[in-house]
């Protein structure tokens, strides 16, 4: 699911990632230039004529090449780099959308915040944003250090327990962008992906309004099973008695593109597979396997969750 192409780093889809990519290219160009100078010096040292060696071998060469050149180039680079990326730390517009993302072993809690900073909608593992607008993320962690990284939308920033780091992201156009935890956090860390979906602003507003409307849950059998099987102890589904917070919020799980934190396609079949034995899919994750559920119960639970849009 996570299209983990390394080329994503060179394919920015918004202004924040854009300036980081530009800086990366400048650094790569400098690396190539310096390497060329070193190779040339080496060649002169091994094969060059005596006169050339004598001219380059004095203290003057050390003053120019060893001190003057690095001081000038590195200072210029520092000034350029800080100027280029200053919007990454600049204050955001007052009315910018804010979302709190909390790293968990090995998934992500997502809370959309109102202007006063209080959560008004909970979700997990996927983030919906309006295209063309900056969004401020508050990054936190409940256990160990994680690192939030959606390479095409912004930089990489650690989530440190007890701290709140902020990271702006923006997508210039609608699209789906893969992310990945970028700090080893134990066990299935490599299977801790993330998905950002950018919508046209009008479509985004419609989607959020639909999600905030009252949510009747007509499937009595699924709801009952969800409670009696024990799922409700760890998972919340708004509008029902399920209120557990140890696992991802499943209120909108049916509208996710992925399961298991951005790693598995989401459909009724994979939902059933995840519930039955998530340990075979994501070894070490904190949800127990339910191998003894009957096929009928498993299908009913999967259908119930698939309908939680």
């Amino acid at each position: 699911m996570t299209s983990g192409s390394i080329f994503a780093v060179f394919d920015p889809a918004g202004p924040y990632a854009g300036s980081i990519t530009t800086l990366a290219w400048v650094l790569i160009a400098m690396f190539v230039a310096v390497l060329a100078v070193v190779i040339a010096a080496l060649w002169i040292a091994l094969r060059g004529s005596g006169r050339l060696k004598a001219r380059l071998g004095g203290t003057r060469a050390i003053w120019i090449g060893g001190i003057g050149f690095p001081v000038v180039v590195l200072t210029a680079l520092l000034v350029y780099g800080l100027t280029l990326t200053r919007h990454l730390t600049a204050p955001m517009p007052q009315d910018a959308m804010r979302v709190r993302i909390t790293g968990e072993m090995w998934w992500w809690r997502v809370a959309y915040l109102d202007p006063s900073g209080r959560p008004f909608m909970l979700d997990a593992n996927e983030l919906h944003i309006p295209a063309g607008r900056p969004v401020l993320l508050e990054l936190e962690s409940n256990d160990v250090i994680h690192s939030f990284w959606v390479p095409r939308l912004s930089g990489k920033l650690d989530m440190v327990p007890g701290r709140r780091n902020t990271l702006p992201i923006q997508a210039d156009g609608p699209g789906v962008f893969a992310g990945q935890c970028a700090e080893y956090c134990g066990g299935p860390h490599a299977l801790m992906g993330f998905v950002v979906i950018a919508h046209e602003p009008a479509a985004f507003d419609r989607m959020m309004a639909a999600r905030r409307a009252p949510r009747p849950v007509p499937d009595e059998r699924g709801r009952q099973l969800f409670r009696s099987t024990g799922c409700a102890a760890c998972h919340r589904i708004a509008g029902t008695e399920a209120n557990g917070m140890a696992g991802p919020d499943l209120t909108h799980v049916g509208s996710r593109r992925s399961l298991g934190a951005g790693i598995l396609p989401n459909n009724r079949g994979t939902l059933a597979g995840w519930i039955g034995d998530s340990q075979a899919i994501k070894p070490g994750n904190r949800m127990p396997p339910y191998k003894t559920l009957s096929a009928a119960d498993l299908q009913a639970l999967a259908a119930y969750l698939e309908a939680r849009k």
Binding site: G269, G273, A280, K282
Partner: protein, 122 residues
């Protein structure tokens, strides 16, 4: 000569199962696309699929060596038409099976079947 004639029907029916390559030949299907469809649909959530390193789910049987298998889910003859129907909508093809219906188009289901036959030989 006569004995050969008399034995011919016996010889023809002796191998109950026709040679797999013939019977499992699916000219219009593409195993490469089939593998992509398997990844997209997430069959690995429940199956070990040949050629797929992750995921290797355990809820369903391993599909390694499926081409050489006589029956689908122990009950249906292992024929292309039935396999295509089964991977797409198992409950409708074989009532009572625990394999769920999967989001595949008919064309994708053919490709998936072709992949299982091409890669699932022991």
């Amino acid at each position: 000569m006569h004995t050969v004639r008399a034995l011919l029907p016996l010889l023809l029916t002796a191998g109950c199962k026709p040679p797999p390559d013939e019977a499992q030949h699916m000219p219009q299907a593409d195993p490469v696309r089939g593998k992509q469809a398997i990844v997209r649909a997430g069959c690995g959530a429940c199956h070990v699929v040949p050629g797929l390193r992750w995921p290797q789910g355990q809820s369903g049987p391993s599909l390694e060596g499926f081409a050489d298998q006589g029956l689908i889910a122990g009950r249906l003859p292992n024929r292309p038409d039935l396999l295509v129907a089964y991977v797409r909508n198992a409950p409708a093809t074989l009532p009572g099976t625990t394999m769920p219906a999967m989001p595949l188009t008919d064309g994708e289901a053919r490709d998936v079947a072709a992949y299982l036959y091409a890669s699932g030989k022991r």
